[in-house]
Amino acid sequence: MPNFLNKLAEILEVDEVKREDVLEEFENWDSLTVLSIVATLDANYGLNLTSGDLKKVKTVGELADKISSHI
């Protein structure tokens, strides 16, 4: 999952993300970020998560786990 974490940091425009970081607390966490994540998952993993799926996860770690469980 390191690739995804790097990509997530890039989308959020931060140097790095840690598993315990809370998604909503990132300054750039908004609908554009959600769409960018959804698009990345579609393009790189063939995964189609909805914004509803993303609302259920709180931390970077939970998001990474959710993606792993779908791959």
Partner: protein, 355 residues
């Protein structure tokens, strides 16, 4: 479902856009976001400017202006067509149909069919299908297919999710019978269970407009819009398009026994540059074969983006030669449709400004 048409063509095309242009920077001032985030949105989605009507302009105004232009230039005779098919989601009235309003305003003949169809992003495709079916009638020799929307009037200026991309426009396509015996394959699917992904909740009979439906509400993400306004589940629509459109096009090409290389251009509905380029990536279509520049120049005018993309990008070719075009529309309904059609040489193909 798979459909097949025979011996039909688009013979001419006119697009009408409001002269009134807004820039993304002007829009930004109304959004409840930092300048940096708004500029990021502009960059990622490929927004720049868009054409919107002044508040009182209706679709019949755009349509009548376009028809008058065609009559004045001698491109079309007032009594020379037998059906007027009007595709719109922003009619002048609930009743009568806008096609009849146009018929009356333009003094068209009585021996004709006027038909309104409520369709959005796939409306141009549905209109082509309906027009081609009508042309099977011996009495119907020419169909005027008008596609027009002024949905900017229903979008909240404080909704960053929809306002920067909305555009108003109209198109008039002339449909006729053709001598070319080759089949015209098309396909079509719909899913009403997801009809709320793109909707205007209030203003119809289910929820009439009232003081309550005009109250601005936060969508939870700093976008303010009322129930009277258009709303879109952006992520939901993105997923829908990425999941449904590539297999639809693959099916169409398989049935037509052609490959991507055989297609001159892929003219798709234009939701925004971001979504189109993701689609192109997924389908392995070169960006220069799939124009995605309509939203940044004119905005997303629902189904009209397809004829507008054709007129803006291909008019110099289409007036001279025949091109094999793969059309696709997808959105409101939800509806998704595609068609493989040889287009050209057209007798005219232009974009004009509505003053």
């Amino acid at each position: 479902m798979n459909l097949v048409f025979k011996k039909k063509k688009i013979s001419a095309l006119l697009a009408i856009v409001p002269a009134n242009e807004r820039t993304f920077e002007e829009d930004m001032a109304k959004f409840n976001f930092t300048t940096a985030r708004s500029l990021k949105l502009k960059k990622v989605m490929g927004y720049d400017r868009h054409r919107v009507v002044n508040d009182s302009v209706c679709v019949s105004d755009l349509a009548c202006f376009g028809l008058q232009f065609l009559f004045d230039r001698g491109h079309l005779e007032r009594d020379d067509f037998d059906a007027l098919v009007m595709i719109t989601q922003s009619p002048d009235y609930f009743m009568p149909p806008t096609s009849n309003v146009i018929q009356g305003r333009m003094n068209l003949k009585r021996d004709m069919l006027c038909l309104d169809i409520n369709q959005g992003c796939a409306g141009f495709l549905i209109g082509l299908m309906q027009g081609f079916l009508l042309l099977d009638q011996p009495s119907i020799k020419k169909v005027v297919l008008i596609n027009a929307d002024v949905l900017s009037r229903k979008v909240s200026i404080r909704d960053r999710n929809s306002y920067p991309l909305i555009g108003d426009a109209a198109s008039i396509a002339i449909l006729e019978r053709s001598d070319d015996p080759s089949e015209i394959p098309a396909n079509l699917k719909m899913d009403g269970s997801r009809c709320e992904a793109l909707m205007i909740p209030a203003g119809g009979f289910r929820l009439p407009s009232s003081g309550v439906t005009s109250i601005m509400e936060d969508d939870g993400e700093n976008n303010f819009r009322a129930k009277d306004n258009l709303r879109m589940d952006g992520t939901g629509v993105f997923n829908f398009v990425q999941v449904e459109v590539p297999p639809m096009i693959a099916d169409l090409l398989r049935i037509a026994k052609v490959s991507i290389e055989d297609i001159d251009y892929f003219i798709f509905h234009q939701p925004n540059k971001f979504m189109l380029q993701k689609l192109a990536d997924k389908m392995k279509i070169a960006y220069d074969k799939m124009p995605s520049n309509i939203v940044e120049l004119y905005g997303n005018s629902s189904g009209v983006t397809i004829p507008l993309a054709m007129a803006h990008n291909l008019s110099e070719y289409l007036i001279k030669q025949k091109m094999t075009i793969c059309f696709a529309g997808f959105g409101v309904g939800l509806t998704w449709a595609s068609m493989l059609l040889k287009v050209g040489p057209l007798t005219y193909c232009e974009i004009i400004n509505y003053p």
